[in-house]
């Protein structure tokens, strides 16, 4: 590790400080994000429930809009967290340890926001539970052939899996924090740590269960976004009916998720003062991953265009032409610039290890990825088979507000998280540190101390 020598106690102090000591900036940010959530998300949503989906800009050929784009975006953003953390855990990547907790939290909260976006999207959100298979006296079951129903299953499974994964990995840290806090916090962590004492048996079981869950979560994460892509690919809409869609969405998800992690890591490093825990090494490695993902993503995009062209069907030509050169054409080229061209900068190590350029690039990538999702919806549906039913779609003010509000909601959830969960894994960071010399301590003691 390229970081300077840190002692075990310093790690503990840093992280307990991040939980206990709360500055004015934190409260201001929290207040602003709660305000944004209510003013931009719940307010417009309430209006939309009252008025009907007509408050959004959807119309006859384009019945899906930014809500679905946001849904895919948030699901995509959720991808890297748990998936990356699980993959890196299985491949024994040391550098994962300082960043995985916040990455997993990002997963959890983006899945939550995505689930809320589904509620915003549907016409009658008060009946959305009908898509869940539950026994009822009418013996009505959901339609098991529907990709949307697969979606409900996949997302709830992924959400449950992610919650268990993050919670289980945090139990020893809850115990460590429990032993260092007083008052109501102490009581809360007593509950959260489930009586963790740090015995060898406990550690053994934790590691076993954690690895088991990691193995479980990798295929789960891949399946979730494949299934999200089937919402589109199983239709016969030109430019959506493509076999490449499942890998396309998975790659896109990991891509935007990794960029999201870079953004979150930068913010955590800067504002939680984790400079010595989150280092250039992490940005370097994440940068390499981003580069690989961007190349894959570019390749899949080229394939998508190629198959459209190769099909030689007029519908595909029209849809692709509309996407590339139609009203939203400039957005397409913006997406190519942000997601395919700009990430080539990551080839340079100097770029990967500089923090601010990485932050800017990661935000640009996510803007590009949001655009991608928007274009999938907004440029395919207006150009379908019957030219008489062609149309155009423009997002309405309510949609734009809800999109902004969803970011506020994510930030709010994340801000609450950093004050309850140790946002950097205490025990695993310590595993990477040299053991303290004067007094030989076993791993188990250090974890529970």
């Amino acid at each position: 590790m390229s970081q300077r020598e840190i002692a075990y106690s310093e790690v503990n102090d840093d992280i307990v400080r991040s939980l206990v000591v709360t500055g004015r900036n934190y409260y201001i940010t929290l207040a602003v994000s709660i305000l944004v959530t209510f003013a931009c998300f719940f307010g417009p949503w309430f209006y939309q429930i009252q008025y009907g989906i007509g408050a959004a800009g959807m119309n006859h050929p384009t019945v899906w809009g930014t809500y679905l784009a946001s849904f895919i975006f948030w699901i995509g953003l959720s991808h890297s967290g748990t998936l990356l953390s699980a993959v890196l855990h299985l491949t024994n990547s040391e550098w994962r340890k300082a960043m995985y907790r916040s990455a997993e939290a990002m997963t959890l909260f983006s899945v939550m926001v995505a689930a809320t976006m589904v509620m915003v999207h549907v016409g009658r959100p008060w009946f959305v539970h009908w898509a869940v298979p539950y026994p009822n006296q009418m013996e009505m079951w959901p339609n098991f052939r529907s990709p949307l129903m697969f979606d409900v299953m996949a997302i709830t499974t992924y959400m449950t899996g992610s919650i268990i994964f993050i919670y289980m990995g945090t139990i020893p840290d809850f115990a460590a924090v429990r032993d260092r806090t007083t008052g109501w916090r102490h009581h809360m962590y007593v509950l959260l740590s489930l009586g963790w004492r740090g015995t060898d048996t406990e550690w053994h079981r934790l590691h076993w269960a954690y690895t088991f869950l990691a193995v479980l979560i990798v295929p789960l994460a891949v399946s979730v976004h494949s299934i999200v892509s089937w919402d589109f690919a199983l239709s016969i809409v030109p430019a959506l009916h493509q076999t490449i869609f499942a890998p396309y969405f998975v790659v896109g998800a990991i891509y935007s998720g990794t960029a999201g992690i870079v953004t979150v890591m930068f913010v955590l490093r800067k504002y939680m003062k984790f400079e010595h825990l989150i280092t250039k090494l992490h940005f370097d490695n994440l940068g390499k991953l981003l580069l690989v993902m961007s190349l894959l993503w570019t390749y899949i995009n080229a394939v998508e265009l190629f198959t459209g062209w190769y099909s030689e069907s007029s519908e595909e030509y029209e849809a692709l032409g509309f996407r590339l050169f139609g009203f939203y054409g400039p957005l397409y080229w913006e997406m190519i610039l942000f997601c395919a061209v700009a990430p080539l900068l990551l080839i340079s190590k100097r770029f990967r290890t500089s923090f601010v350029p990485m932050l800017i690039l990661s935000i640009a990538i996510n803007i590009g990825m949001y655009t991608e999702r928007f274009l999938i919806v907004a440029t395919s549906l207006p150009r379908q088979y019957l030219p008489d039913a062609w149309g155009m779609y423009y997002p309405s003010l309510v949609e734009i507000l809800i999109m902004i509000g969803s970011f506020g909601m994510f930030t709010t959830l994340f801000l609450i998280f950093v004050k309850i969960f140790p946002s950097v894994s205490l025990y695993e960071v310590k595993e990477t540190l040299p053991e303290p010399q004067p007094k030989l301590r076993t791993q188990s003691e250090s974890g529970a101390s």
Binding site: Y51, G52, I53, G54, A55, G57, M58, N59, H60, P61, T62, V63, W64, H121, V122, G123, R124, P125, F127, V128, W130, A131, M140, W141, P142, N143, R145, S146, P147, L148, M149, D151, V152, D231, L234, S235, I236, V237, L381, Q384, Y385, L386, P387, D388, A389, G391, M392
Partner: protein, 256 residues
């Protein structure tokens, strides 16, 4: 015989034509484009029969029209030699309907008559059926509609008024089909007679361009009409097996 075998046998019997006489219909419509004048009477009749709301000018401009049947207009040629073609477009009641597979709550399903039914009470408004439909004939209630007086006095009591957030579409006037079946039962007949039931659009068509009936009955008017060499399905290449058959417009040799 195992449980699964029993089930399979039952299922096959159930699907066998003639097993349930009273269900064994395959409602079909033919539309003769040679006769269609594009007058739009079917659109109006449908609007009146099925309580389809009038969205008004602003909503129409936003592309939120509600027409279970619409007249598609296609222009051919440049200005002096212009030709206008009409295709009335309504729900094709596909036998392999993409909209049915995608609905997560089975709000749209295939009934025994081969109709593509829509259960308004079950619909949660994901609008995915409208995306999956290649004919673009599904219409969504973007808000609660109002019927300005005196239009509210002419709402059809046989058809429910749909609330906001619900998808709706052509039903082949299922309320009339049900009524005809009831009448047949009351008269002690097992089958509805050919021509006994007509959807509003067919009934109103001045040029008799539309024919409606049961294609399981080889003698019915619609079966005969389907045998016309001009018969074709719109978007046959997407393999949806539609129940609406169009009869191609015969081109006159007009020299320009």
């Amino acid at each position: 015989m195992s449980f699964m075998d029993t089930l399979r046998t039952r299922w096959q019997e159930y699907r066998k034509p003639g097993y349930y006489d009273e269900f064994d219909y395959a409602w079909t419509m033919t539309i003769d484009l040679d006769r269609c004048t594009g007058c739009g009477a079917c659109v109006t009749a449908c609007q009146a029969e099925n309580n389809i709301p009038l969205v008004g000018e602003t909503e129409l401009a936003r592309g939120r029209e509600m027409q279970w049947i619409r007249i598609e207009r296609y222009w051919e040629g440049e200005y002096p030699n212009v030709k206008l073609n009409f295709i009335p477009m309504l729900c094709q009641h596909c036998d392999a309907a993409p909209c049915e597979t995608v609905c997560p709550v089975s709000a749209t399903y295939h009934n025994q008559d081969g109709l593509n039914a829509q259960v308004y009470n079950r619909c949660i408004g994901t609008r995915s059926c409208a995306v999956y439909c290649p004919y673009e004939v599904r219409y969504f209630n973007y808000y609660d509609h109002e019927w300005p007086s005196p239009l509210d006095q002419q709402l059809n009591p046989d058809v429910s008024v749909r609330e906001k957030g619900v998808m709706e579409k052509c039903t082949f006037c299922i309320q009339r089909i049900r009524q005809a079946k009831d009448t047949a039962k009351d008269d002690g007949r097992r089958r509805v007679l050919d021509g006994e039931v007509q959807p509003a659009c067919v009934q109103t068509c001045a040029t008799e361009a539309m024919v409606f009936g049961d294609r399981n009955d080889p003698q019915s008017q619609v079966s005969q009409s389907m045998n016309d060499p001009r018969a074709y399905h719109v978007l046959e290449e997407v393999n949806t097996a539609p129940s609406v058959v169009y009869l191609k417009k015969v081109e006159a040799n007009v020299s320009t």
